[in-house]
């Protein structure tokens, strides 16, 4: 089968094609298999934050719980109400998961190494404008939620979809602007260059305000508590995925958790120095995953601590607090850089 495919490709590019394919498969499979672990981690940690145990019945430490849940979700009946727009209804979860995985393609999680005279980098693709790619594709993820809300033909879903689009557009500004102050310092949009320029000092020490703003906007961007307005249970049932069942419902969850990983990875790359170890004797990739893991725990910590914001407060906070602060920070950074 490989020969049939490879005959269409320039022999000089064949190794790259094979490497690219392997990388794509590894990243996609790896990310999707991280999701059950993350669900388990979240439920266990949330339990501990609430002075209880969390799931511990299925398997050792409850590790079988996510598998039991996935099997349950796989075999659940898929219910579609007759008034739904069938095509968009099926398309929406796929869009969410697809954009979530594709975003991760440009995230580097280590340096490069050489195997069989081929330099292989620990990233899906080394794009010159990597961070722009991340923002662009994660912005596309909103379409999935809006389409889900629209296609469900349910007022709660529609409200959830609209809310998520409004929220994500508002917070994407703050996200981009706070990342921009780091980009101003580095002078490159390439994520690997960004990490390389933090060899001596992570940007969290140089740009603490930008880090804070980016992290807050990142939580809002991934629709996590306390900014999980699109799926506010009290007033919107479950927001844009109210009408979804079974595996399609699970796909929205997968998208959310993959986005969480991506956002943690992005914060690590931009502010925590990526895979730089700063003298601690560990492998770079361990350093990177450790930082991401820590940030994921912080995500869960925040979720179990803070109540959900009111919708108008959320918008006020995004536009009247985060955005001016980002602009101010960017202005000061730029002035210092120029001087």
């Amino acid at each position: 089968m490989w020969d049939d495919v490879l005959q269409f490709i320039d022999p000089a590019l064949q190794p790259e094609f094979i490497i690219g394919t392997v990388k794509a498969v590894v990243i996609a499979v790896g990310l999707l298999s991280v999701v059950p672990g993350l669900v388990w981690l979240e439920r266990r940690l949330m339990g501990r934050f609430q002075v209880r145990l969390g799931p511990n019945r299925v398997g050792p430490l409850g590790l079988g719980q996510p598998f039991a849940d996935s099997i349950k979700l796989l075999f659940k009946e898929s219910i579609i109400q007759s008034s739904a727009d069938k095509f968009l209804y099926h398309l929406a979860p796929a869009v969410v998961v697809f954009t979530a995985i594709v975003t991760f393609a440009v995230i580097p999680f280590g340096g490069s190494f050489t195997v069989f005279e081929q330099e292989i980098g620990l990233w899906g693709a080394n794009v010159n404008s990597g961070i722009l790619f991340v923002f662009a594709i994660s912005g596309m993820g909103i379409y999935g939620m809006v389409l889900a809300g629209l296609a469900s033909n349910n007022k709660y879903s529609l409200m959830g979809g609209l809310r998520s689009s409004a929220q994500m557009i508002s917070y994407e500004l703050a996200l981009g602007l706070s990342a921009l102050s780091v980009i101003v310092l580095t002078g490159s949009l390439n994520l690997i260059d960004l990490v390389e320029s933090q060899k001596n000092l992570p940007y969290i020490l140089v740009q603490p305000l930008a880090f804070l703003l980016f992290f807050v906007a990142g939580i809002a961007e991934t629709n996590r508590a306390p900014f999980d307005l699109p799926e506010a249970e009290q007033e919107l049932v479950a927001g844009f995925h109210t009408e979804y069942t079974g595996m399609k419902f699970a796909m929205f969850f997968m998208g959310e958790y993959v986005n969480m990983v991506t956002m943690s990875a992005l914060v690590t790359l931009l502010f925590l120095g990526g895979w730089n170890t700063y003298g601690i004797p560990v492998w770079p990739i361990i350093a990177f995953s450790g930082k991401v893991f820590f940030l994921l725990c912080v995500f869960i910590w925040l979720r179990s601590t803070f109540p959900r914001l009111r919708y108008d407060r959320l918008m006020t906070f995004g536009w009247k607090v985060l955005l001016p602060l980002c602009l101010l920070n960017l202005l000061i950074t730029a002035v210092i850089k120029v001087l």
């Binding site: 934050f49 002075v51 209880r52 179990s304 601590t305």
Partner: protein, 164 residues
């Protein structure tokens, strides 16, 4: 405004501190089927009938529990004690003593009404079953505890808890 922001951030951090403290404290969960809670001493669970020091039934078949029961779930038929067949220390004894545990509201009035401290409500709360017929507790069910009485601590004077 800046002061307000600082105060707000401080409050957020206090909140996060509370949850962090929760994380490092021991969970309060009791893993029920394996670990059973020690119930309070005056908990009103399932009924039992006491025996006295000589192993005789305390119940003298007076039916006061039945009369006092707000839902009428106790059925008592009394019979005379004879020299050959002495069941209780008094003149009479309960030949039939049945409690409908489904109808019972576990108010404990039977216990209060009993002049000889025969019927008591103990801390047994696992009363689920598949069959409604099994909820008619007869004398064999109620007299499962052998002599001397091992039921209650310091309430009736003559009882003591074994599984402390």
């Amino acid at each position: 405004m800046i002061q307000g922001a600082i105060a707000g951030v401080k409050n957020l951090l206090i909140g996060m501190g509370v949850t962090f403290k929760n994380m490092v404290t021991k969970p309060v969960t009791i893993q029920y089927p394996e670990v059973k809670r020690t119930m309070p001493e005056r908990y009103r669970g399932r009924h039992f009938l006491n025996r006295d020091e000589n192993g005789l039934e305390r119940c003298v078949g007076c039916s006061l529990c039945s009369i006092n029961c707000p839902v009428g779930c106790i059925h008592v038929v009394s019979a005379e004690n004879t020299e050959e067949n002495r069941v209780s220390p008094g003149e009479r004894y309960a030949a039939v003593y049945e409690i409908n545990l489904l109808r019972c509201i576990y108010c404990g009035y039977c216990e209060e009404a009993c002049p000889v401290d025969a019927v008591v409500l103990r801390e047994h709360y696992e009363l689920a079953d598949y069959d409604r017929d099994k909820y008619i507790a007869t004398k064999e069910d109620l007299l499962v505890y052998p002599e001397p009485n091992q039921f209650r601590v310091n309430i009736l004077g003559n009882t003591e808890r074994t599984n402390k």
